[in-house]
């Protein structure tokens, strides 16, 4: 005799305890601490902060631990936490020209004021597995040699240098007191303004941005990019306090900024100038900042009256599919039961087959139902 399957509640509780056990792994291995993750998996922490849109290193590290290293799951945990936090206000725009720079490179000039600073980069490492890291027990790491810091040396943004010659479009200036769009508080409508587009890209999935940025390089909406500058370091975040009448510093955050210098525009009415693509990300995330700036520039195609030829230039396509928390939820919801709908499909399919066999209906085309 058939008995309807019961006990979903118990099954869920059991699945949760199995999950906890799997997360911990073999208990003879010491447990990871959140501090270890924060310190030694710092680029994972950066990605979780960027796509979780919450700058909090210990919380991001905790999320990574809880998610067993699944970064999208960790991002989801952070987002679900972030959504409950009260909003006190908006910070002032951060000034990246005043950044305490740890890395700064330009691909457009050999040398420039402030110089090129490689900083901590994988760029010129040979990707050979370092088996010394596999050995237990650590040897002291030599203090790296760095150039003496000149406290008076300024490091102007490369795009500002180009802009001084009027060779690149002007950077938009923030209007004081203008409302700031917040796509976590208002539903996104199309066409979206650039502030909301950048906000969307800043929390967009790194892999998605990377693939889109790559596609523009391969001809699906080319925009002739040059890396004007990538800089990474610490910037101060300030909040304007109405009662005080001035901005107070809240603290420092690490950000990566990419300013792309792109193909020029010009007409009989206007002098030719380079255009810009912009990328900014929490933490040290050059890949995402660069991809973001490529996609940002691609999304400005309409503004420059360029032909829309690639997916990266298609605003609705890009902005509707960039969020990996949304994407993973909807893709994975296919795991949920769909047997009611499947049954409805089965019934129609059987009916159509019966009619076919009885010769009562011959479809004009042999195409399957969607």
């Amino acid at each position: 005799m058939y008995v309807a399957v019961k006990g979903g509640e118990r099954a869920i509780a059991n699945a949760h305890s199995l999950l906890a056990k799997s997360r911990r792994g073999d208990e003879s291995t010491p447990e990871l601490t959140v501090t270890q993750i924060e310190q030694q998996l710092s680029l994972s922490v950066d990605r979780v902060m960027a796509e979780g849109s919450l700058y909090d290193r210990p919380l991001a590290a905790l999320a990574i631990k809880q998610a067993r290293g699944d970064l999208i799951e960790a991002i989801f945990l952070i987002r679900a936490y972030r959504t409950t936090l009260p909003r006190f206000g908006f910070s002032e725009p951060v000034d990246t020209s005043a950044m305490e720079v740890r890395r700064r490179i330009s691909a457009t000039y050999k040398d420039l004021p402030g110089g090129q600073v490689l900083g901590p980069t994988f760029d010129y490492t040979h990707r050979l597995l370092d088996f010394a890291l596999a050995a237990e027990g650590e040897t002291a790491i030599e203090a790296p040699a760095t150039a003496p810091v000149d406290a008076d040396a300024t490091m102007p943004r490369v795009t500002d240098i180009i802009a001084a010659d009027d060779l690149i479009e002007k950077s938009p200036v923030a209007e004081p007191g203008a409302p700031v769009g917040d796509l976590t508080r208002d539903p996104l409508a199309f066409p979206a303004a650039r502030d909301l587009r950048l906000q969307n890209l800043a929390r967009g999935d790194e892999g998605f941005l990377l693939a889109l940025g790559y596609s523009t390089q391969r001809g699906y909406g080319r925009n002739h990019p040059f890396v004007g500058e990538i800089r990474m370091g610490e910037v101060e975040v300030e909040l304007m306090v109405e009662e005080l009448g001035f901005a107070v510093p809240l603290g420092e955050i690490t950000v990566t900024e990419c300013q792309m210098v792109n193909q020029f525009t010009g007409s009989t009415k206007e002098k030719a100038r380079f255009t810009r693509g912009y990328g900014l990300s929490f933490g040290h995330c050059e890949r995402r900042a660069m991809s973001m700036s490529l996609v940002d520039r691609a999304l400005r195609s309409t503004e420059f009256e360029e032909e829309i030829k690639g997916p990266a230039q298609d605003e609705e396509f890009v902005l509707s599919h960039s969020d990996n928390v949304q994407a993973t939820g909807f893709v994975e919801h296919l795991k949920l039961p769909h047997y009611v709908d499947f049954q409805a499909e089965l019934a129609l399919l059987r009916q159509m087959r019966a009619e076919y066999e009885a010769g009562t209906f011959a479809p004009a085309h042999q195409e399957a139902a969607e």
């Binding site: 979903g8 539903p187 949304q326 993973t328 909807f330 919801h333 009611v340 019934a347 139902a369």
Partner: protein
């Protein structure tokens, strides 16, 4: 169980609930129109009922009795999980009995028992836009709705008939609400569509990922799209329920062995259990081996 102190009653903060209730009021005022709302990130994944959960959270009061179903059943894992969420964050009374519930949150079904005028049914909606599969762009579909330009949909249904002899839409079958907006009823089987028409209960639809809320007010005309010579037909079953013998309910097909064995049982578990308690028997329940014709 009392609400966890760390969160507000029913999880969402009161400002968010107010924002959602405003969207709901607008939705009720314009039946079938999709109202954009500032959908929040919820502690369950998008696509798993975040829209329905936000609506339920926004309208839930302490005196409410909540029923949550998925595929018609109270005990499917996601229904269990959502019910547990509200038990934990709101401490409201839960029920599996359709007639006892004041709010019914559902995925993919409308209960078999007739809805009552003090009830609210909250649908979880994956894709709120009925025109989406015909036109991927939101900018386009919003214009089409604004102009009530639904020709594309009728052409699609017509093409189905020429290709398959039938409208090849068995669930999420488009409806016209109050003579104006074409609306996605969420992926309920078309079997359930007639229940939406002139329904005494308020029907609310929440799509969290797509950030849309829409509604069908009580006693509103809801018509499934069709043609005069190809009228809408709900799915029919050749079998009664194997457990309760009902011939009026939507059935799940259960595979019983690997030799083609199948049985059909009510998808609405509460309805099926109630009928059995009332003494109705299907051929696989109660030890009687009733022939199919004799059942019910």
């Amino acid at each position: 169980m009392s609400a966890a102190p760390a969160y507000n009653f029913a999880y969402l903060d009161e400002q968010t609930k107010r924002m959602i209730r405003r969207a709901i009021l607008k939705a009720i005022a314009i039946p079938g129109y999709q109202v954009p709302f500032a959908s929040r990130e919820m502690p369950m994944p998008y696509g798993w009922g975040t829209g329905g959960v936000q609506i339920t959270a926004a309208i839930l009061g302490k005196q409410d009795v909540l029923k949550v179903i998925d595929q018609g059943a109270d005990d499917t894992t996601n229904a269990v999980s959502i019910r547990a969420f509200f038990a934990k964050t709101a401490g409201v009374e839960g029920t599996t009995a359709t007639e006892k519930a004041t709010i019914i949150q559902t995925r993919h079904r409308i209960p078999e028992a007739a809805m009552q005028d003090h009830q609210i049914i909250v649908y979880q909606v994956p894709l709120p836009e009925p025109l989406r599969l015909l036109e991927p762009r939101e900018t386009e579909t919003r214009t089409m709705h604004a102009l009530a330009e639904y020709g594309l949909m009728h052409v699609k249904l017509y093409e189905d008939i020429t290709r398959h002899g039938h409208i090849a839409k068995t669930f999420d079958y488009p409806v016209e609400v109050a003579g104006r907006y074409v609306m996605a009823p969420s992926p309920i089987p078309k079997f359930d569509n007639p229940k939406m028409d002139d329904c005494p209960a308020l029907q609310l639809f929440g799509a969290g990922r797509e950030k849309r809320i829409y509604a069908v007010p009580p006693y509103t005309k809801v018509v499934s799209l069709d043609f005069e010579d190809h009228p809408f037909e709900p799915t029919k079953f050749d079998h009664p329920c194997a457990l309760c013998g009902s011939t009026a309910s939507y059935l799940d097909e259960v595979v019983t062995d690997d030799k083609g064995g199948r049985m059909f049982v009510c998808s609405d578990t509460d309805y099926c259990e109630k009928r059995r308690a009332e003494g109705h028997h299907g051929h696989l329940y109660g030890g009687e081996d009733m022939p199919l014709e004799a059942a019910e």
